[in-house]
């Protein structure tokens, strides 16, 4: 009966297995921990993430390794993205700690465990080589996030946001599944590399494929949060507790980038001409609506939500320029620029939401732009950090945001889409306005209140490091840029 049972190679999935075990263990251990001793859970969570990073590092071979009957893949791209994922999660957990402790209904062990499960979901997404694996990872991530958004039970706003997120998220999952089933129908396989082989072989029904592709792109666009599938972003960013917004607004972008790479580039590269055109429209619309709508916002979280939409639109520009009239010469340059963009964005986004958390205290959310009034007077140091983050988001040198935009733009120009590059810079010019406004509020206006910050020291140090990293990596972007290029070179 067990004759053809082969134990799969577990090594490529070692970090995932470790994290799953740790998450379950922490869930148990937390039951024994009193509310006042929740630090134990926090420390264990951080240790689990650090453990993942260590295992990731130790088990990385640099080769493309498939396991679990080709459902799971471990390559350098996934290694790199996961390492950035752990780093992001560690930062996110540090930033949220003070915020969570101040809010009783959130100060539960579930908060940490759900975050770990969300991480696990993202890791599975990053390493997926099979439609089902992608779906499992995606749902694990989404369900954890739905619950986290609703964790602040007493808040009507959060509950509403969670409902909205859940309903629209389910719809998007439906679209994605429908697209996957179409592609399965046309190719007869759910395995991503298998689909690529079938498409190379020819004889696949093109109209069914395009039909499936449309749904697939719609589903991906929802997860990335690009126009016209962006409606959930502002509401969820705004409604969720800020510490959860921080999580939603940072790490999942890495995972979303990964599944775009897996599905569209690894699986459907032969159909690049079709999906590139779709993505160009999504990208331009996102930059337009994201940047224009952000101007009208008075709530910083909502503004950053629209800014996220525009950033994801900009990132897509890197993905649409990989194949030029059937020539994949520029692919590596284009995809690595998009990857660098995502990593840079996650770093900036984490810092910005971290600043909101730094300013927040019990009973005060600091989420209006006006709450930053006169920050330069209250704390020149943190005003300086926020200044760097804002200029980086706007794409002004010497900050990492500039080189993120630079690398994507040069890929666009190299592919010959000069008009697209011009559209992109004009919309980022519009975008600069609202980032400048935050700087204006901090530096040109008088402070509205003088309450000292309540944030713990570890968070202050970390957020300072985050802001300085934005500047440092803006002056020395070479290492991460070439890491991205090298990882993709070895993975594509």
């Amino acid at each position: 009966m067990f004759d053809n049972f082969v134990v799969p190679n577990l090594l490529p999935a070692a970090p995932e297995i470790f994290l799953a075990v740790m998450a379950l263990a922490i869930l148990m251990i937390d039951l024994l921990v009193k509310d006042s001793r929740r630090t134990v859970t926090f420390v264990l969570t951080q240790l689990a993430l650090i453990g993942c990073a260590v295992i990731q590092f130790a088990t990385s071979t640099g080769e493309i390794t498939y396991t679990f009957s080709n459902m799971f893949v471990d390559d350098l791209m996934s290694d790199l993205l996961k390492l950035f994922l752990y780093a992001t999660l560690i930062i996110v957990m540090f930033y949220s700690r003070g915020y969570v402790i101040d809010r009783e209904s959130m100060n539960k062990g579930e908060y940490y465990v759900l975050a770990l499960f969300a991480t696990l979901g993202m890791m599975v997404m990053i390493s997926a080589n099979h439609f089902l694996t992608i779906y499992i990872g995606l749902e694990l991530l989404s369900l954890s996030l739905y619950a986290m958004v609703a964790m602040n039970r007493d808040s009507v706003k959060s509950t509403e946001a969670a409902m909205k997120y859940f309903v629209l998220g389910a719809l998007a999952s439906g679209l994605l599944l429908y697209g996957m089933s179409m592609i399965y129908g046309a190719t007869g396989t759910l395995e991503i590399t298998g689909i690529a082989e079938r498409l190379y072989g020819g004889g696949v029904n093109k109209s069914v494929m395009v039909f499936g592709l449309v749904f697939l792109v719609a589903g991906l666009a929802f997860k990335l949060g690009v126009v016209p599938f962006h409606m959930w972003i502002p509401d969820v960013y705004h409604g969720a507790p800020t510490s959860v917004t921080l999580l939603i607004g940072s790490a999942p972008k890495l995972a979303a980038f990964a599944i775009v790479m897996r599905l569209l580039v690894n699986g459907l590269i032969t159909m690049a001409a079709d999906w590139q055109n779709m993505l160009i429209i999504l990208s331009v619309l996102s930059m337009a609506i994201g940047n224009l709508a952000a101007i009208a916002q008075t709530n910083l979280k909502r503004m950053l939500a629209y800014s996220a939409i525009s950033h994801m639109g900009f990132m897509l520009l890197g993905i649409v320029t990989g194949v030029v009239s059937g020539d994949a010469r520029y692919a590596l340059n284009a995809y690595s620029s998009a990857m660098f963009y995502v990593i840079a964005y996650v770093l900036m986004s984490a810092g910005t939401f971290g600043m909101i958390l730094l300013m927040a205290r019990s009973g005060f959310e600091a989420e209006e732009i006006d709450d930053f009034k006169g920050l330069n007077k209250r704390s020149p140091w943190f005003a300086g950090i926020m200044l760097m983050l804002m200029f980086s988001m706007a794409g002004v040198p010497f900050f990492i945001g500039f080189f993120a935009k630079f690398s994507v733009l040069q890929a666009v120009v190299a592919a010959g889409h000069i008009w697209l590059a011009i559209v992109a810079v004009l919309f980022s010019l519009i975008g600069t306005f609202y980032y400048l406004r935050v700087v204006k509020v901090m530096y040109f206006d008088a402070p509205a209140d003088d309450t000292p910050f309540a944030a713990p020291l570890d968070m202050r140090i970390l957020i300072s490091a985050n802001g300085l990293a934005v500047a440092f990596l803006g002056i020395f972007p070479q290492v991460i840029m070439s890491l991205c290029a090298y990882a993709l070179l070895r993975s594509l």
């Binding site: 690398s407 600069t432 040109f444 290029a485």
Partner: protein, 494 residues
């Protein structure tokens, strides 16, 4: 030649000094911040002096070159160097920074460390612009220098400072973003190089040259500023604190003009010839029309701001006649305008600090109360009007001489500005300085103190030196300008 990395020092000493000044913290340490800022500015100026003394005037190429890899992924290099065109601006910039720090000594009483740090950092960034020989390095400095000026206008500016700061930032960013795309296009065309010197040799078809030229034109025209994209400048000047106006007029405006010489002319010679008519027309509009606009201003700062636009019109006019006389005259005009407009804004600042008004109508009879000031202000007003023996005359005269050879009517229009310039400068001077004491504010005026006298005195010496003996300046730039023009004369179309 010196073995020290002088250009790096000229960039990073002020930036580092700025960070040190920033570290002094709040206004409790204000006097420490001032002293440190002055020390930093002086140190930064001292390292630029060997650039002048060690400069080989016979060599038209790049000197004091530094080259190192910065971002090998995109072949971006930390490539610095100066020729006879850029060297003067590095020194001028370092010099003006001292003036600015001194100018804000007593006036700025809030956020002193941030104020001085912003100016020092900006000074370093602008030295970076003048010395970069790599397109992206240039761009990075070019755009980063917007941040300190945005803050200077917004934090220490006048009542409409927020509007002015935003307008300044977004206007200039708009120009530079198109410039960025042009740089990337050149990067692709040259097979993966951002080296400006290599781009000088790169053959480009005429169609592409024209598009690139227009992209460059937008970026530099906004920065110069040329008519009709000049409207940010009067707002920025009026709202900026005195120091901000000085840096803006003396250095920031030169960046655009410098860009024409470093990018447009040598990289795109054919398009430059093709479109020179357009640039000359815009320049003449700036010279004549903006001159008339200056005539009707009620606000002294606005008046000088418009006169700056008119003077910069001379500069762009001089460049696009492609004659040694025109280009050298324009360069002299740029340096001279740095001294004169800086001094003019400082003079207005001196009066503003005492009366808190910039309206011409609020003054009258100042000479009765401030005779020393009136004498020095007279000199700078004359220089602004282009009176012989002042630096203002030399540049304008050379440009007009070049224009006569080029086209009589162009020269005629340009020369008419000598009249208009004299009209708005002297008329303002007359209304402000002469006549009876206008009101009790003027009655209470006290003459300039030693600090103000020293600043104006140094600027006066510089203005007169350039006016009476401009040869050292033209000698420095001569070889480089000839090289440039020889290069521009060769078509790049293959």
């Amino acid at each position: 030649m010196s073995t020290y990395p002088l250009l790096s020092l000229a960039i990073w000493i002020p930036i580092f000094a700025g960070l040190v000044v920033l570290a002094t913290g709040g206004d409790r340490n204000a006097s420490l911040a001032r002293v440190l800022a002055l020390a930093g500015a002086v140190a930064a100026f001292l390292v630029t002096i060997p650039l002048w003394t060690g400069f080989d005037t016979a060599n038209g190429g790049m000197q004091f070159v530094e080259l190192g890899a910065w971002i090998p992924r995109f072949n971006i290099n930390y490539h610095l160097g100066v020729d006879g065109i850029s060297m003067l601006f590095v020194i001028l910039n370092a010099f003006v920074t001292i003036i600015v720090v001194a100018a804000g000594w007593e006036v700025i009483q809030t956020k002193v460390s941030q104020y001085n740090a912003a100016f020092l950092i900006m000074s370093g960034l602008m030295n970076g612009i003048f010395t970069s020989l790599d397109g992206i390095l240039f761009y990075v400095f070019f755009e980063a220098s917007l941040i300190p000026l945005y803050l200077i206008i917004g934090v220490w500016g006048g009542p409409k400072r927020v509007y002015a700061a935003f307008k300044f930032f977004l206007y200039t960013l708009f120009g530079s973003l198109l410039f960025l795309i042009a740089l990337m296009y050149l990067f692709i065309q040259s097979g993966g190089s951002f080296s400006i010197l290599e781009w000088h040799k790169l053959p480009i078809a005429l169609g592409a040259q024209v598009w690139l030229f227009l992209a460059f034109l937008v970026a530099f025209a906004v920065k110069v500023p040329m008519w009709p994209v000049h409207t940010w400048l009067p707002d920025a000047h009026v709202e900026a604190p005195t120091g901000g106006s000085i840096v803006l007029a003396a250095i920031a405006l030169k960046l655009g003009a410098y860009g024409f010489l470093r990018f447009s002319l040598p990289i795109l010679p054919d398009a430059s010839h093709e479109l020179s008519g357009l640039v000359i027309a815009l320049s003449l509009i700036a010279v004549v029309y903006i001159g008339f606009v200056a005539l009707v201003q009620e606000d002294m700062k606005k008046l000088v701001a418009y006169s700056s636009i008119a003077h910069m019109g001379f500069v762009t006019l001089g460049f696009f006649m492609f004659s040694p006389m025109g280009v050298e005259g324009a360069l002299v005009q740029m340096v001279s305008h740095g001294f004169v407009s800086g001094a003019m804004f400082f003079c207005i600042g001196v009066m503003y600090d005492r009366v808190h008004s910039r309206q011409i109508a609020d003054y009258g009879g100042v000479v009765n109360k401030m005779p020393k000031f009136a004498a020095l202000f007279m000199l700078f007003t004359m220089a602004n009007a282009g009176l012989p023996a002042t630096s203002g005359f030399v540049g304008e005269f050379m440009v007009i001489l070049g224009a006569v050879k080029f086209n009589f009517w162009v020269a005629f229009a340009a020369a008419s500005s000598m009249v208009i310039g004299a009209a708005y400068s002297l008329w303002m001077y007359k209304r402000v300085i002469f006549g009876d004491v206008a009101n009790h504010h003027v009655e209470e005026l006290s003459d300039i103190n030693l600090r103000e006298f020293a600043i104006l005195g140094i600027l006066a010496i510089a203005t007169l030196w350039m006016g009476l003996y401009p040869q050292p300046f033209t000698e420095v730039m001569h070889a480089s300008v000839n090289d440039l023009l020889r290069h521009v004369a060769i078509s790049k179309i293959q």
